[in-house]
Amino acid sequence: MSENYEQEIETFIQQVFEQNYEELRLESGQAVAPDVRQTALNQVLFYWRKLRAIAEGVTDTEVHLSLPQQETPGGREYAIEGVVDILREAGRTVMYDIKTHDADYARANLKFYEQQLNVYAHIWQELRQQELDEMAVIATDYPEAVKEALASGDLAHLAYALDQWEPVVPIAYDPHRVQATIAEFGAVVDCIEENRFNPRSVQDLNTVLPGTRSIRFATRVCRNCDARYSCAAYRQYAWQPGYRGVAESKLRHIYGEELADAVQEQWRTAGLDAAPDDSGLRADY
């Protein structure tokens, strides 16, 4: 196939991307900043450029897998559902789960991905009696090196960085874990049905996330959660260790947390882009 073909597909990606963006913007009434939007587009484009063999080999996309008739320890019937992409080629079947995470993070947190894909594999192999040779997570968030290359505008540099990037994280098949995972899943269903909704412990919040040098759970998860201000665990986390301020400065400590300038500026751009024309607003109300 020709270069022409590659270009055609890239044009196609750009077109559907624009359509999807507009649809989502209408559905949600929100917008994202142009650079965030560009990042989203790049993730798809780089997936295509880097993993063309996989993209072209996918035979079934968005396959719904279901594990019905499970019973929780508390005796509730439920079903587990998941969505994957399947590639079948030359007698080989591979299951992919595409995530917008970064690959290093995925490698460091293999446990979760292993749990998930092994349950899916169980459904696929044991229940559906279908072949499965490999499983992998595809992490579409490209690494710093690619971002730097993009910023430099140097095409050779970009090609090199893309070449070095390893977005595919293979997952080992381990049928022994499946039952344990399903049991854990069932326990979670019971917790949900029994309204058990305590936040994570302060200790958990302090944990440095695997795959990161110093990012704590609280920084990655809680700082992105609007409900943190009213969360007992987060407040305790933020005021320790030995945070002795009086109530008022304690409060400032949480409420004054500032987002990185770039994030805040992107948010401003998106907000202004989504804002209706104010002469219209003035005339109408």
């Binding site: 939007r37 996309t61 439920y78 998941g82 559906r128 309204n195 109530a247 202004l272 804002a275």
Partner: protein, 893 residues
């Protein structure tokens, strides 16, 4: 069908039978259910009494078609009354099909299946380029306005003025319009509300305005007589039709994009089916649930879709028809056999689900007897009935024990106290596990937005015995405590809107509401010094950015810079930075290196920012209304509410906070996504938020709780309208007001009749009685174990005639009722198994149970959901890419 599919089919049949699946799923259908499930050829007319296992029949019918009759999921059209019902059916079907897959290895993908409300299915047809497009292009369907959007569209100055002018009205003619509706009011809000109710009805009846006007001008004596009988005016009717035409025009042209509303989108879908060849073959099976509540355009659409196959299955119960006021015509169901003859040229198979699995025998007997109290025979010498008569309901739960009990006939206060004591005992003696299993049902909960006295009495009686109620539709949503709290603090932060030049009752009442909210906000600030300090700082921040904006404007003016001209940093940045009175915080934004970079990029692309944009940007607040909401939620008063929900003690307050977050999100989406100082300097923000948006919510008595969310918050007794209780069931039901007065036919009905292009159906003078009967029937049939009826007596009190007859001297009364014999309520055991997603449920819960509860459980809207937006964008595009590559490969092969 390909050979491969046929092959699969044979294997499936060999290893599996429907009976085997029933066994595995522990389902034992009765004879009628079985017949309904296996009927696959030709129209089916299925009457289904309350609690007769209709949902299971629908589920297994779809499954039977898909698994054993070579019907692809995409060839099934299944319409339900609510999205929730559709969702449940889909989950149940997915789960059963998963079972089949695991037995046969044959996978099923339900995504192509058309399952949802008529509205959502119509919407889907409009964008289904593969099956319903003449030219195979991807069509962008017009933007859909929901009810609140529709109101905001017509009520906005620009549209409303234009529409009135188009209809030939001079000046401020709201009074004239309201007069036609029989209301004396000059209010735009009242006129818009009345008009929309009628317009939706016009759309549902497919009114052609030119034709309607022609008829008005040229019609015969029958019209004259009608107008005279009901005291209507020809000119008034003509004006309404012209307003309707103008409204439709405003949707086409207003706002730059084409828009539509719920009612019109059905017409558009019908038109597509009409023009697109082969569209009557797209679905091999059309199944419609709750058929008694469908309207004219929907009926036409269903018959059209089924015209090619004749496979139209309608399921419903005319006795439970509730939605005449929304254009539903119960005749669609009652007269279905005749309509089948007309449209399909054949008679439907009639089946009746008559075994009730829900209620105790005495309850079934009671509501059956209730329905027989009215005379349903057709008048004017016609044969037949306005009701499907040959239904014979039988209770599966046979038991001679009393299960229906009335209060002692007495004054309302005594009746309420007696009932409250009974409820207290039910809880104390463990007959129900949680207050949310006892529903109090009312014909209506409020009038003009305020809670009715008859409802308040009951609420107070329950509170007197230490019980709390959850009444999302009683009174205005804005009158829940949490709304006072939060909006009160918003008033302290943003300040009042400038006093509008509005008089009228509504505005006065709203301003009083706003003042009470302010007082409540003040009380909260007084009791929490930290909150007080926080609110004052926010207020100071708003004052500061407004000053900054003025300072920058003065600088721009002194240099004679045009705000619409491109921003030139080389020339403008320094003078702006040094503007007299410009704050340090503001300067930081102007000096941002990020901004510099974006400005350069835009200039390089030939799309430079305007100076006006820059001024807005560097004086914008770095929180939006939802950020503010969540921060306020961190203060003790609100935090306690979250704690209560975490401990599963009381979910009421947090449920309300979740709704408030949704309203704030809508305001952000449509009006102010980011607060900029230019909106603050002349109080435009305050006008938009308090003066326009909240005022509209207040007047409409808006609640989003159209479909009750079951289960209801734990720890509280739900107070529901009977309409809201449709499709639900409760261990104990209290019919707390068995009174619905006959106020004659509704105005919209009277105004619509002269234009009907079909048989008018039930006579106008009997509508109120029939509707009353059906409504109470729905209420009575919600109860599983116990049905309690309030029996009011005394001055000014009455209950409707059928109750007077039925609640006779020998009827069981509360004081002598033996609670011991009552079975204890079970946890819902017949519930369809729920589906849990590995990522959206399991992993999200594992990440943080509290976050899961708040956002997935109570529907709070995140203030900044860019991550979600981003993920959906990437995934949708990847999916499209894969489809495209598969398509190319297949066409290549």
């Amino acid at each position: 069908m390909t050979d491969f599919q046929q092959h699969l089919q044979i294997i499936t049949r060999r290893v599996l039978s429907l009976e085997r699946l029933w066994e595995l799923a522990r389902f034992q259908p009765n004879d009628a259910q079985r017949e309904a499930i296996i009927h696959v050829d030709g129209p089916l007319y299925l009457t289904a009494g309350p609690g007769s296992g209709k949902t299971r029949v629908l589920l297994w019918r779809a499954l039977n078609l898909i698994v054993f009759h070579e019907v692809l999921p995409g060839e099934v059209f299944l319409s339900t009354f609510t999205e929730k019902a559709a969702h449940q059916l889909q989950e149940g079907l997915q789960s059963l099909l998963g079972l089949v897959t695991n037995l046969t290895g044959r996978p099923y993908d339900l995504t192509p299946m058309y399952i949802g409300t008529v509205h959502s299915l119509c919407r889907r047809m409009l964008s289904d380029r593969r099956r319903f497009s003449v030219d195979r292009q991807r069509h962008r369907p017009p933007t859909l306005l929901d009810e609140l959007d529709q109101y905001f569209h017509l009520a906005r100055n620009r549209t409303w003025t234009e529409v009135r002018q188009c209809a030939g009205l001079e000046g401020d003619a709201n009074g004239i319009i309201n007069g036609i509706f029989g209301v004396r009011s000059e209010s735009r809000h009242v006129a818009v509300t009345n008009c929309l109710a009628l317009f939706n009805r016009f759309s549902e009846e497919c009114l052609d305005s030119d034709h309607a006007l022609y008829r008005l001008d040229n019609d015969a004596s029958s019209l004259r007589n009608y107008l005279q009988t009901w005291n209507l005016d020809r000119e008034g009717l003509s004006l309404l039709v012209r307003l309707y035409a103008a409204y439709r025009e405003s949707l086409r042209t207003g706002n730059g994009v084409e828009q539509t509303d719920f009612a019109l989108s059905q017409q558009e879908a019908y038109r597509i089916v009409e023009t697109c060849t082969g569209s009557d073959q797209v679905f091999r099976h059309v199944i419609v649930d709750e058929y008694q509540d469908t309207n004219t355009i929907q009926e036409r659409l269903f018959f059209k879709l089924a015209a090619g196959t004749g496979n139209l299955c309608v399921v419903g119960d005319d006795d439970q028809a509730l939605y005449r006021f929304r254009g539903a015509t119960v005749e669609n169901f009652v007269e279905f056999p005749a309509r089948c003859h007309t449209y399909l040229g054949r008679a439907p198979r009639r089946l009746s689900l008559e075994i009730n699995y829900r209620s105790q025998e005495r309850i079934v007997d009671f509501y059956t007897a209730f329905m027989q109290q009215a005379n349903w025979a057709k008048s004017d010498g016609q044969d037949g009935f306005y009701r499907v008569m040959d239904k014979d309901l039988v209770a599966h739960r046979q038991s001679p024990l009393p299960a229906v009990v009335a209060s002692t006939p007495a004054e309302p206060t005594d009746v309420c106290a007696e009932i409250a004591t009974l409820v207290r005992r039910l809880l104390d003696e463990g007959k129900v596990g949680d207050p949310n299993q006892i529903a109090f049902l009312f014909p209506s909960l409020k009038y003009r937005g305020a809670m009715l006295d008859s409802v308040r009495r009951v609420k107070e009686a329950l509170e007197a015995v230490g019980l709390r109620v959850y009444a999302p539709r009683a009174g205005r949503f804005l009158e829940v405590d949490e709304a006072y709290d939060l909006i009160g603090l918003f008033v302290h932060i943003f300040g009042y809107p400038p006093r509008a030049d509005l008089r009228g009752h509504d505005y006065q009442a709203y301003m009083e509401w706003l003042q009470s909210a302010e007082a409540q906000g003040e009380a909260l600030m007084h009791s929490d010094p930290l909150l007080d300090g926080y609110v004052k700082e926010r207020r100071a921040e708003l004052v500061r950015v407004a000053q900054d904006y003025r300072a920058l404007l003065r600088t721009a003016e002194s240099h004679h810079w045009d705000l619409r001209a491109p921003y030139d940093p080389d020339r403008m940045k320094r003078p702006l930075y040094n503007a007299h009175g410009y704050s340090d915080e503001g300067k930081r934004l102007l000096a941002s290196t990020y901004l510099d970079r974006v400005v350069r990029e835009r200039t390089a692309k030939g799309q430079p920012f305007t100076l006006g944009y820059i001024l807005k940007r560097v004086t914008s607040i770095d929180w939006n209304v939802l950020d503010l909401f969540y921060r306020l939620c961190g203060f003790e008063h609100f935090k306690r509410m979250f704690d209560l929900a975490e401990r599963a003690e009381d979910e009421g307050p947090v449920t309300n906070l979740g709704l408030i977050s949704q309203y704030l999100a809508r305001f952000m989406e449509q009006r102010v996504p980011i607060i900029t100082a230019d909106l603050l300097v002349d109080k435009l923000f305050q006008k938009l938020f308090f003066g326009s948006y909240l005022f509209a919510l207040y007047r409409r008595g808006e609640t989003e709780m159209e479909d009750a969310d079951d289960p209801f918050p734990k720890g509280r007794i739900p107070f529901l309208t009977i309409h809201q209780a449709k499709g639900l069931e409760f261990p104990v039901v209290v019919l707390a007001n068995p009174r619905k007065d006959d106020r004659g036919p509704q105005r919209v009905e009277l105004l619509m009749r002269p234009f009907l292009e079909r048989e008018p159906g039930e006579p106008l003078e009997r509508l109120a009685e029939f509707d009353m009967m059906r409504m109470f029937y729905v209420a009575l049939s919600r109860a599983k174990n116990l049905l309690v009826i309030a029996h009011y007596k005394g001055k000014g009190q009455r209950i409707n005639a059928p109750f007077i007859t039925l609640l006779d001297a020998g009827f069981p009364r509360i004081p002598t009722f033996n609670l011991n014999a009552l079975p204890a309520a079970q946890e819902k055991d017949e519930a369809l198994p729920k589906i849990y997603s590995f990522t959206a449920d399991y992993l999200t819960y594992k990440k943080c149970p509290r976050q899961y509860m708040i956002f997935r459980g109570f529907g709070f809207v995140p203030a900044r959901s860019q991550t979600m937006f981003f993920g959906s964008l990437v995934h949708r595009t990847l999916e499209d890419l894969h489809h495209e590559l598969i398509r190319r490969r297949e066409s290549h092969e």
